[in-house]
Symmetry: C2
Subunit: 213 residues, 2 copies
């Protein structure tokens, strides 16, 4: 799975240990997940920065959120085989179906980073995660369908979906909109953008993620 020999084996053991079997903050993988999440985000930012030299920050932000959302990471983790080696309470059937494996993957990235440093982690993530599992060309076109998907889900479940302006402020001389996706009047996700289209698109993505669709 790693393609290299781990140095500090204990780090990797911690990365694979879910809190359902290790209570202590220094024993389970949640701290490494916090670290790995941030490192992954930086690596993806760099990757996108280089891949799309003329795209603006709004596009880069949206692409990243498509690449590293919770559901996507969980799928990748399962495909990489992390479900088989994560140590968790298997009697808890809710855990089995939950998205803890994406968290394990982030923790593993945190472990690789502490063990081997940033540059090695970057190479590993680019080869084993991005190029094997994240198809940016496909992701570029997803945005067209995401609102439709959400409207379809709402319709099917007899829910009312609307997008509302949660907040409007000025930033750097531009109007910054916060758009919320609401289901039956309750905000389930929100996102910011310098125009309403971008913000509502991103809110739709987050809504789909939050709903686990």
């Amino acid at each position: 799975m790693l393609g290299f020999k781990p140095g500090d084996v204990q780090l990797y053991k911690t990365a694979l240990s879910h809190r359902s079997v290790r209570e202590g903050a220094d024993e389970n993988n949640e701290r490494l997940e916090f670290l790995g999440d941030a490192v992954l985000s930086a690596i993806i930012a760099h990757f996108l920065f280089m891949k799309y030299p003329y795209k603006d920050e709004g596009f880069l932000t949206e692409m990243r959120s498509k690449m590293v959302n919770r559901q996507k990471l969980n799928e990748i983790a399962v495909r990489m085989g992390l479900k088989k080696i994560t140590i968790y309470n298997k009697l808890d059937t809710a855990l089995k179906k939950s998205q803890i494996f994406g968290n394990t993957l982030e923790a593993l990235i945190g472990a690789v980073y502490l063990d081997k440093g940033y540059k090695k982690t970057q190479q590993w993530v680019e080869q084993y995660i991005i190029s094997n599992h994240m198809f940016t060309d496909e992701l570029e076109s997803i945005e067209i369908n995401i609102k439709n998907k959400l409207y379809g889900w709402a319709n099917k479940n007899g829910k009312s979906l609307t997008f509302v302006i949660v907040n409007e402020s000025m930033e750097g001389g531009r109007r910054l909109f916060t758009i919320g996706a609401t289901i039956d009047g309750e905000v389930i996700a929100q996102a910011k953008g310098f125009n309403k289209k971008d913000a509502s698109q991103l809110a739709a993505f987050k809504a789909v993620e939050n709903l686990g669709l």
Copy 2:
């Protein structure tokens, strides 16, 4: 300001160029800001991970949001002298008072990262930003007062402040709460946490940030 000699000078020029004077996505600092924001986040995550070996992920997340919120970064940028060298439309008086300098600082971090690599950026951020401007010991105790600050502001301005549960879901076998801070019934900030206290604390922080208090 840097303490080292820049390699690729053009990168730093771009980092200092606000979109009010450079329209093109490849000419102004917004793409570098996107990159620098992510790199800074990873560096702070690593710093906190090492500094607090027994604190859980909730604590680390909260500390980071105190260290890198928009207002804080803007203050640091101004103290570092970035206001004087940022290239922006000075006829736009709104810009002068806005928080574009924090964005410039993030863009500068992005430029250092591309020019010198992660490790050098990490050293520079730790020395010139964290240890000079971010006092973690003070920040640890701020949380006690943040809700009071928000209630004080609401009271003074005749607004009604409440914290509401925006969403409740299961993650990894635990209940995950999304708490929203609302002003006169409008959600102005929200945050997630595995208990309501953490989530509402974090929502209060974001609210203070969004309101620019």
